[in-house]
């Protein structure tokens, strides 16, 4: 036991270890730093996101998981004091380049938030909103098709098909979150970012969302932030561990949870803090 511990990388070394890079990545992040005013929230993070993988990001609260996730579709642009440096590419295009349109980036990289946030409109309108503003459909029947398809993919169709005109805010928490996923899918994104999508849900609703993530993985690349290590273990192929703004370790999920290489990772997954 004492022997094994000594082989771990010490807590003072904050260089990322593990499989942070992959072949033929979908997205690449290099030396990403994020500042909120003077506060340095994310330090020199470099990581690749592979095609059709589920990448989980774990770590104690306030370690910068959400902040980093929000860099990937430039949601941080909405915060005045937030500044991002470094390079992030999607299919080899720098997403922070001047010629990149935020609207099309976000259409390609969808997002699901921690707290279910359906619009205070009908279920139908919630899902139809994205396709409508992006002009994805020519006719009402096209739109109906997209709405149905998205709700089916989000596993919500059977529950709501008879009350599409009722407010989305009237659904249960788990249903609302699946509605939000349907809303994201309706725009036909290729990546989906999820920021603790189950933290406000009960275990049954959580299980449904996890199932859904497993299904969605066939078509989409998913980056999910979670503070629940079991969840990361269940849904993801790779896991990244963040600590106080540093990306400490990235590894294939089954290996990271059994044989972490960094002291901090081990401390976290054995429940010493978090």
């Amino acid at each position: 036991m004492v022997e094994k511990k000594s082989q771990l990388i010490s807590v003072d070394d904050r260089k990322t270890v593990g499989q942070q890079f992959v072949e033929n990545p979908r997205m690449t992040c290099r030396d990403v730093n994020v500042y909120y005013g003077d506060k340095h929230a994310v330090h020199d993070v470099s990581i690749d996101i592979a095609r059709n993988e589920v990448l989980a990001m774990i770590g104690p609260s306030g370690c910068g998981k959400s902040t980093f996730l929000r860099c990937l579709n430039r949601m941080n642009d909405t915060i005045d004091i937030c500044r991002v440096t470094g390079e992030i590419t999607l299919d080899d295009n720098d997403i922070y380049a001047k010629n990149i349109d935020i609207v099309s980036l976000r259409a390609l990289v969808g997002m699901v938030f921690q707290k279910p946030n359906p619009f205070p409109k009908s279920i139908y309108d919630n899902v139809a909103y994205g396709p409508t503003i992006h002009g994805l459909t020519e006719s009402k029947s096209d739109l109906d098709g997209i709405v149905e398809n998205s709700l089916v993919k989000a596993g919500l169709w059977d529950e709501v098909k008879d009350r599409l005109d009722q407010p989305g805010t009237g659904l249960s928490g788990g249903q609302q979150q699946r509605l939000c996923i349907a809303r994201a899918i309706a725009v036909e994104p290729e990546l989906i970012l999820m920021d603790e999508p189950c933290s406000a849900l009960d275990p049954i609703a959580t299980a449904k969302i996890e199932e859904l993530i497993a299904e969605l993985r066939e078509q989409y690349t998913i980056v999910i932030v979670t503070h629940n290590m079991q969840q990361a273990a269940r849904v993801s192929q790779r896991t990244a561990y963040f600590h106080l703004g540093d990306l400490i370790e990235v590894g294939y999920t089954d290996r990271l949870f059994t044989t972490p290489r960094h002291q901090l990772t081990e401390d976290y997954i054995t429940g010493r803090f978090g």
Binding site: N73, M75, T78, D80, I81, V103, S104, L105, R106, A107, G110, M111, F113, K115, N117, P118, F119, P120, Y129, G130, I133, H134, C180, R183, A184, A186, V187
Partner: protein, 423 residues
């Protein structure tokens, strides 16, 4: 150990009675304050209603009028001597009256509005020329006051508005059933007048309405646009902070200052017509803008950020986010603020004094640039008139103004309750 514990609890219990007493005292003081303010409010409403309700009735007098063809030239009906018809009818009713001064006393029983009434009848139907009709015409304000019990018969004649002989005539008319109180329609349909029995609030109401129209059309869009820009688009920096501080300061500027500003800018510099609802509306716009901006910003702030994130997250542009999602949710709050601002503008008189909307204006304003007064200014003008009959009209006008304000504030409360969301 256990000794210690008991004594702590005892200590707490000892202090408890004192705490409860303090709490009770505090609640009583609060209750007292509420009762006091409600009492004052009740007294205010009671006095106004008591003084004003009689103004909704007006005494009318029945005259037997012979539409004498010799006095009514069919070619020039507007210039005919209708006053003469009225006087003749009065003389016929009281044949015993003689002498210039007695006749004059008799004539003052009838309002000068009687002649206008006859003119209107003849112009509307020339067929009545040559016939004799029973016509109800408004009595003078003194007769009205006597009938309403506001003139004390026991006072010495010299202190009274009506002489003894006039009292006798009035008593005779009452006995003949020729005097009666009717609903005072003129109060709601007429403009201002020197004669209380002919004066109404319609002119002032229209003036106020025109003014509020201008204020609403200008201040709502400008206020909402300002709030949306500051809240949703502007980056926080020194300039936006400065703007914000200034808007808050503007909201605290005394209204008369806005009147001075309007006088200097709109009248003297731009040369817009004096006393017009247009200028009044512009001044009120300046005054209500800060209120609307502040209310709108609060409404925008109360829209949860998660809605904005949801829209931005699926690729809505900033403007789509604001127009499709944020504005509709903030609109009830903005409307509430606007209605409250409008209410304030409706009740405001000081700035209007500065821009000349305080004139004596008989005509009902027909356009935004006609001279006009507003309701609160009309109240101010009437309150200054010595005639007793204007006193009740002042109170009645206050009642109408208060009714409008209650209506507006009620709408605001209703809007707030109906559309307020809990997140």
């Amino acid at each position: 150990m256990s000794q210690q514990k008991i004594s702590t609890i005892e200590l707490v219990n000892k202090g408890l009675a004192k705490r409860y007493r303090a709490e009770k005292r505090f609640r009583l003081i609060g209750l007292g304050a509420i009762v006091l303010s409600l009492t004052f409010l009740a007294i205010l409403f009671a006095t106004i209603t008591f003084n004003g309700y009689t103004a909704f009735q007006q005494t009318w007098l029945e005259l037997t009028i012979f539409f004498d063809p010799q006095m009514l030239d069919a070619k020039n009906l507007r210039q005919a001597d209708y006053d003469g018809l009225v006087k003749k009818s009065l003389r016929d009713n009281f044949p015993e009256v003689s002498g210039r001064s007695q006749k004059k006393d008799l004539y003052t029983l009838v309002s000068s509005g009687a002649a206008y009434k006859l003119q209107d009848m003849v112009v509307a139907d020339t067929g009545i020329i040559g016939t004799t009709r029973q016509v109800w015409v408004p009595a003078s304000d003194d007769v009205d006051m006597l009938i309403k019990g506001n003139i004390d018969r026991s006072q010495p004649e010299s202190d009274r508005q009506l002489k003894d002989i006039q009292l006798a005539w009035i008593d005779q008319l009452v006995k003949e059933g020729r005097l009666a109180k009717r609903f005072n329609l003129a109060f709601f349909t007429a403009g201002d007048s020197r004669e209380p029995e002919l004066a109404g609030i319609f002119g002032a109401t229209i003036g106020s309405a025109y003014m509020l129209l201008i204020t609403l059309l200008l201040s709502f869009p400008v206020g909402v646009a300002t709030a949306v820009y500051l809240e949703e688009f502007a980056k926080r920096n020194r300039w936006t902070d400065l703007v914000e501080v200034n808007i808050n300061n503007l909201a605290a500027v005394p209204s008369i200052v806005f009147g001075l500003l309007g006088l200097a800018v709109f009248l003297n510099f731009f040369g817009l017509p004096r006393s017009s609802p247009l200028v009044g509306g512009l001044v009120m716009t300046l005054m209500t803008l800060p209120t609307i901006i502040i209310a709108s910003r609060i409404a925008l702030q109360s829209v949860p950020p998660s809605i904005r994130e949801a829209a931005l997250g699926i690729g809505a542009s900033k403007m789509q986010t604001v127009i499709h999602h944020v504005l509709p949710l903030a609109l009830p709050g903005m409307l509430t603020g606007t209605i409250i601002g409008m209410g304030r503008a409706l009740g405001e008189s000081a700035p209007l004094l500065m821009i000349g909307m305080v004139a004596f204006i008989v005509d009902i304003p027909g356009s935004l640039t006609d001279s006009a007064t507003a309701l609160p200014v009309q109240i101010y003008l009437w309150a200054d008139c010595p005639e007793q009959a204007f006193m009740e009209r002042t109170s009645a006008a206050i009642m109408v103004l208060l009714a409008f304000l209650v209506l507006m504030n009620g709408t605001a409360v209703l809007l707030r309750n109906r559309f307020e969301r809990r997140w």
